[in-house]
Symmetry: C2
């Protein structure tokens, strides 16, 4: 079910298959059907503290890829994790979760970590086999249709879009649709846990969908602010 013996993430550049949540990282947060999960690497297994920066490679890259592809990930909880949600002994398969966000941050120990927000799929039936010829990642769990990207809208966000005439603040494009101009609002610090960004105009950018994706994935960012990193300097 989960192949690597030590690493918490089974996966690579084609996506992640599964993660183990077992209290090995000081920055992990477990809310039952929602997890804030720390990437792998850079920690001392004896003390569980971070002693080096994490890289966006191997399992860490895999989880990011699973988000981008909209593919769910198996979650396995082990003894040692949050008492409320973890088995008392051994490992327990807790179903499929989707990766809804990933970002880099400075962890409690002062080193760069990768963080992932995962949310339990409502249906956790066993994933069907991948039906398409020519795919190379047949071990990746599949569901028939998973949500890949949510764009949220608030009154403030819509006000910012109107203020900018629905033009992208990066490239200036204004998408013209039969229902009028279209743009997306990106919160520089995301709303909700764990970022708790404020829903105020100064925290909102007006972007075209392409630059919104690039912003959400960290390909572009506001100087001095990583998308969700709470103020990490570059």
């Amino acid at each position: 079910m989960h192949r690597p013996n030590q690493a918490g993430i089974c996966g690579g550049k084609d996506g992640a298959e599964s993660i183990v949540v077992s209290g090995g990282y000081v920055d992990d947060e477990d809310y039952g059907t929602e997890l804030v999960y720390t990437g792998q690497g850079g920690n001392d297994p004896a003390t569980k503290r971070q002693i080096a920066d994490q890289q966006l490679t191997r399992g860490n890259l895999g989880l990011a890829r699973s988000q981008i592809d909209g593919n769910p990930v198996r979650v396995i909880r082990g003894a040692g994790g949050d008492q409320k949600y973890s088995p008392r002994l051994g490992l327990r398969y807790d179903g499929l979760f989707r990766v809804v966000d990933h970002w880099s941050d400075t962890g409690k120990d002062g080193y760069k970590i990768w963080r992932y927000r995962l949310v339990a799929l409502e249906s956790t039936d066993p994933p069907p086999a991948a039906p398409l010829h020519g795919t190379t990642d047949q071990q990746t769990p599949r569901t028939e249709a998973t949500i890949q990207r949510l764009v949220r809208s608030t009154a403030v966000a819509n006000g910012v879009k109107r203020l900018h005439g629905h033009r992208c603040q990066v490239c200036g494009i204004q998408l013209a649709t039969p229902a009028g101009p279209y743009a997306e609002a990106a919160h520089i610090r995301a709303l909700g846990k764990p970022h708790n960004g404020p829903d105020v105009p100064s925290n909102v950018l007006c972007l075209c969908p392409n630059h919104h994706v690039l912003f959400d994935t960290g390909a572009i960012y506001v100087d001095g602010w990583h998308r969700d990193g709470g103020g990490r300097r570059r």
Copy 2:
């Protein structure tokens, strides 16, 4: 609560405030928490049949704008609608719905109609007042954060994206993110009710997010196939 006396949609170019579902249009479909709603105009109130094409103006434009802005719409059901979900007498406020899709189609009577898919919000508390200065559409219902755009992913869709090297089939762009190339899959005929498009490679396009939005809103389309229209010729 709902202002126009005859029209089923209260709204205009800034969005729709509310709709009345009362069996006035032969193409309406009511599934309780989900509606396929027909736009206004072109029908004979006496027979309820369509006698002319509908236009993407007034309330019809408003519902499309509400989808694009992610703003919910009040749904009022009246006697005369589907017996299972409608009041026996008068009008009943049934809460907030979000517009998740709109498309043009040929209705049962052979004329062009606009159709909207609406899904009930889980929370149907009364909407808060609009908090932002300078907005002109203060009558539009607001919720703090509503889902605006869902991008779904299937094994077939991900296979098509790999096949195209994550390059947009319209503009050729390949978005480079730290987690690898990004593209979105667009089903030419959408999955699920009411389109029931097949989840096969020939029904899937690989698009950048910008062209995906333009495709979903009908700004661009595949010759001979409107996005969801089931084969309407242009």
